[in-house]
């Protein structure tokens, strides 16, 4: 079977220091995978390299068997919430519509049908009442939902999400996880940078433990062990796992 995401010997360097070093990864379609690792492990860099936002020093990345440029329309992206200025003068609806800009092509403006798509995505994240809101009036959890809605309208096969659960309230966390699970059930591949080790077991099928190098990846039940975690976090962190 064709991998949804295939990474071979990926090395990314910032100046002389490797941020990612010789990373290999295979993600099968329909997998919900967490990317876990300490700060500075290169989790965001990996996502950005897969999206072609960062030029790797070496290595090869294929999505659905093709280079990113060829399949960009089948890839959805949820950046870190803090990566944009939420005081930007725009509305929730406008932000969600941005997910359709790639499909719209040059010059054409979003019309009636695009608004319908956006509204239905906002319904999925329970934000349809907020479509006219200025984005600076949103809470952190609501901002995250808007970003998720923007990715949903992309109607992609592969989703890359950078810390979608960072700093959100419990309700939002549950809502987002439900959406991730429904994406997975409809055959989509979802890679999620995740920071909360306690919830990895209950939320995800597979996990990639990353610390500049790939420590291990595979089904959570097999690879998410104390030993591997110690290896990833350098043995400095005591990790308490929830008995599932």
């Amino acid at each position: 079977m064709q991998s949804a995401v295939e990474v071979r010997d990926l090395t990314v360097a910032y100046r002389e220091n490797p941020v990612l070093w010789d990373v290999d990864l295979d993600v099968m379609p329909g997998t919900l995978m967490a990317i876990v690792g300490p700060n500075g492990a290169g989790k965001t860099t990996l996502i950005k390299a897969i999206l072609g936002l960062i030029k790797p020093a070496a290595g090869r990345i294929r999505i659905l068997g093709k280079p990113y440029q060829k399949v960009a329309s089948s890839v959805g992206y949820v950046p870190q919430r803090g990566s944009v200025d939420w005081d930007f003068p725009t509305s929730v609806m406008d932000v969600v519509l941005m997910g359709l800009y790639g499909r719209l092509g040059w010059i054409r403006r979003p019309g009636q049908s695009e608004h319908q798509v956006a509204i239905s995505a906002l319904k999925k994240v329970e934000m349809d009442d907020y479509s006219d809101r200025q984005i600076s009036q949103l809470s952190g959890g609501q901002q995250q939902r808007v970003f998720l809605a923007r990715a949903l309208v992309q109607d992609a096969d592969v989703y890359l999400m950078d810390e979608p659960l960072q700093g959100v309230d419990a309700t939002t966390e549950h809502a987002i996880i439900e959406i991730l699970h429904s994406l997975r059930s409809s055959g989509k591949t979802v890679l999620v940078v995740h920071h909360d080790l306690q919830t990895v077991t209950s939320y995800f099928d597979e996990v990639l433990l990353l610390n500049i190098r790939r420590i291990v990846s595979g089904p959570v039940s097999e690879v998410f062990t104390d030993e591997n975690l110690r290896h990833t976090y350098g043995g400095r962190v005591a990790i308490i796992k929830n008995p599932a």
């Binding site: 950005k48 072609g52 936002l53 440029q69 950046p79 944009v84 930007f88 003068p89 725009t90």
Partner: protein, 370 residues
Amino acid sequence: MEQFFNDYTLRTVVLGATILGGVSGVLGTFVVLRQQSLLGDAVSHAAFPGIGITFILTGSKVPLILMVGAGISGWLATAVILLITTHSRIKYDTALGLILSVFFGVGLVLMTFIQKSPNANQAGLDSFLFGQVASLVVQDVITMTVMGAIALVIVLLFWKEFKLLAFDREFAHSLVLPVRGLDFGLTTLVVIAIIIGLQTVGVVLMSAMIIAPAVAARQWTDRLGVMTILAMCMGALSGAGGVIFSISAPNLPTGPIIVMCATAIVGISLTAAPHRGILWQWIRRSLQNRKLRSEAVLMDLFDLARTHDSLEYPHMERALRVIYPQTGTLRRQLSRLEGKGLVSKKENGAWALTPSGVQLCHRLVNERIQ
């Protein structure tokens, strides 16, 4: 005034200033939102040597030719800034400062050289420093109009791409939009907006015309489209107003007066605009403080009464004064609460919660738990 509107030259000049203000307002919106406000300053200063070099090479003082030279020089500066930031450890703001002063320095050297050279034609070139409205002729205004119109049409055509670029560049990149090309295009438009104004406002102050209308417009709206149109109008108004003021009295420099008009608009917007204005925020904050202060007194009465059988159990002011040593503040809050029917004063001078006061306390407790 009537004479003014009949004066052909004046109309020309005012029209020119209006166009320069409008165009720089529109492009400035994107500059400000992309947090590149200093870019305008660097570009306008960096355009200065271009004027000198063009004059030395061509001997021409035709504004269109000089503007092309200025544009190339200004644009070159942005390219050098980009090169420096991508290929060295020098930060963006440092690169801006460096390029601004180096280019401007070169420009001053060239201007001095030209002034001292035995060429009778050089007079008036130094007016590009602070702008010289009197030098504007119909042909210049036509040039400005055409260039400005092209810039505005391009902004309109690539509206959604520029919006996304300004809001979330990486997401734009992930949609395989050519972000480098869009950066290049937008920067080029900013350079055009700046050189349109050089003759009237001058290199030293032109960046104010990029930033000021956009900053002012941001205060009044939360929509990019409205903000852009407002910035255009405010820029145009400053341009026209500045010219009219500066020629109403002798010896007033045009550029600085235009910039002062724009500054006045910024000042009004920063203070008086609803929601974002300082005045508005101050009023809202003091209302909020007042509400919080009286709610605190109400909750204290509630806490005291909770130790008794009834939540409407009255307490003497003295009991509260332990918490609020300032008698005046406490009295004021109590009488405000009384006015709202939340507390009532008993015959013996003790204060008690009314039923609606108790109700509000329960609600506040619930809100705080959540």
